[in-house]
């Protein structure tokens, strides 16, 4: 069924009787050509593009819980392509371009809203780094602007300009950055994949992998063995657990990242903003809540919850930047598990096991990467070749010293 304004009106006038399920609940078949492990954003996008762009059939997505229950449903909804390094920027720009046509492509309004993102600058060194980055972005075909203090002030006059410990000096802006209604991304991809015959199988946890003479044969699940020619794993937050079924150790640590939303407020912040002198980034949802976050808690964790020090640290950053929100109330906090890679950049690659493919290590970057990650992973699965924007995301880059370290923090995941 196709969604449209006319359909909404027609259904409204006939008591909404005609709306169909957005996806089926099929029973798993004995075998598929492709099994995608993980029914989060990346897994659903991979299945969608495999079916739509690469003409593949007999595809299943196995999700241990409910569709979109992973990080796609627990993030701060920001999209951007303001990366520095050659290994990253083409990929994230590809992703942003896919976002720009996504809703029309899968006929679901996920509220892709390009209201702009600014990274605030507080020191000359930050300005130099932003200049380097902004130029790299433009050279890769993205958009970037350097705003001076007055331009930032004109945008948000109520930020702390006059009593700041670390004064705002400028900002790097990407006008095409913005936010997306995160759940709707998962639902849109799920609906699109389902319509193209992909079996979306919920409450189906992968408990093992059947590997014979170095080749994948299928996966053991809580709903029995399911055969497959190729298996793609996209399970942010569980990468090490799932790949351990194939005997692999990964250059990844799992950490908890907390996110926060305030009570609903009349419009205050139009775009997305990141504080450059503390750990705080913020936007305002269409419902009116301030959606914000900061650093990961910093220790290995699979508990989808965080601790108080980071909550305080984020609030301190928020108040230092926006002294007017002292009486705005934090409504809810939650935690997502980030698979933090050793250089802060992701992996989309084959493995030592024929027919087994891996997609993970997204650190904070997972949500904005969803469309390109799905496309590039589908490309790798279908063609056994990396997509041209994802050639750097290899396992062996650590061995060869071709690390993609945007922050320059080295092999310490909790610093990326």
């Amino acid at each position: 069924m196709r969604y449209s304004g006319f359909r909404v009106i027609a259904e409204a006038l006939t008591g909404h009787k005609g709306w169909k399920p957005v996806w089926r609940d099929p029973a798993p078949q004995a075998e598929y050509d492709y099994i995608i492990v993980g029914g989060g954003g990346h897994g659903l996008a991979t299945a969608y593009y495999l079916a739509k762009e690469f003409g593949q059939a007999r595809i299943a997505v196995l999700e241990k819980g409910y569709l979109g229950g992973g990080n796609v449903g627990r993030n701060t909804t920001i999209i951007r392509s303001n990366y520095l390094l050659d290994g990253n920027e083409p990929f994230y720009e590809f992703s942003l371009k896919l976002w720009e046509g996504l809703e029309q492509d899968f006929n679901y309004n996920s509220m892709v809203s390009q209201r702009g993102i600014i990274n605030l600058i507080h020191t000359d060194a930050q300005r130099d780094a932003a200049t380097r980055r902004g130029n790299a972005m433009i050279m890769h075909g993205a958009d970037a602007r350097l705003l001076n203090r007055d331009e930032v002030r004109a945008m948000y006059p109520w930020l702390n300009f006059d009593n700041a410990r670390f004064p705002i000096k400028a900002a790097l802006m990407q006008p095409r950055g913005g936010t997306v209604r995160h759940d709707a991304v998962a639902w849109g991809y799920a609906r699109g994949a389902d319509q193209r015959g992909v079996d979306l199988i919920q409450n189906c946890e992968v408990t093992g992998m059947r590997i014979e003479n170095g080749r994948i044969r299928g996966v053991e699940t809580s709903r029995g063995f399911i055969g497959a020619k190729k298996v793609g794993v996209a399970v942010a937050g569980s990468s090490s657990k799932v790949m351990a079924h194939a005997g692999m150790r990964l250059p990844i640590e799992s950490h908890v990242l907390q996110a926060f939303v305030s009570e609903g407020l009349k419009p205050l912040i139009d775009g997305v903003m990141t504080f450059g002198a503390g750990h705080f980034y913020v936007s305002q949802s269409d419902k009116g809540g301030l959606v914000f976050g900061g650093d990961i808690d910093g220790y290995n964790s699979y508990a989808q919850r965080g601790n108080l020090p980071v909550i305080e640290d984020v609030a301190e950053g928020g108040m230092a930047l926006m002294p007017a929100i002292g009486r705005v109330r934090l409504l809810r906090t939650w935690g997502g598990i980030m698979d933090m890679s050793m250089d802060g950049s992701p992996i989309i690659d084959k493995t030592g096991i024929e027919g087994l493919y891996f997609n993970g290590g997204w650190c904070y970057g997972g949500f904005k990467a969803t469309p390109a990650s799905g496309w590039a992973f589908a490309h790798l699965l279908a063609k056994d070749e990396p997509h041209k924007t994802a050639t750097a995301y290899r396992f062996d880059r650590f061995l060869k010293g071709r690390i993609i370290d945007e922050k320059g923090q080295g092999a310490q995941p909790n610093l990326h």
Partner: protein, 94 residues
């Protein structure tokens, strides 16, 4: 979180800086081991969901490096040792 420091007793985890898996103690010898050994040492992790031995530094305390055994699912801490003792026990010398 609360870390029961072997010398100082219960201390708030806020006083500590986290490094990562305690296998970082097992640094290969640079004169004999090559790139592969160092690559595995520095980059690859078990990253278990469950018991994890990890390094914490008491920066706002007595500057001891500790090896903390903590469950990454429940955050329960079952053992805390001085990293120096662990390193010695693993035969690290000059």
């Amino acid at each position: 979180m609360i870390i029961h420091h072997p010398i100082l007793g219960p201390r708030d985890a806020q006083e500590f800086v986290y490094l990562g898996d305690a296998t970082l103690i097992d640094r290969p010898d640079g004169m004999t081991a090559g790139v592969e050994a160092f690559h595995d040492y520095l980059y690859n992790r078990d990253n278990p969901a469950g018991e994890h031995r990890e390094l914490w530094y008491h920066e706002q305390g007595d500057r001891s490096w500790l090896v903390v055994t903590r469950n990454t699912v429940t955050h329960e801490i079952t053992k805390v040792e001085l990293a120096r003792d662990v390193a010695r026990a693993r035969g690290r010398t000059k």
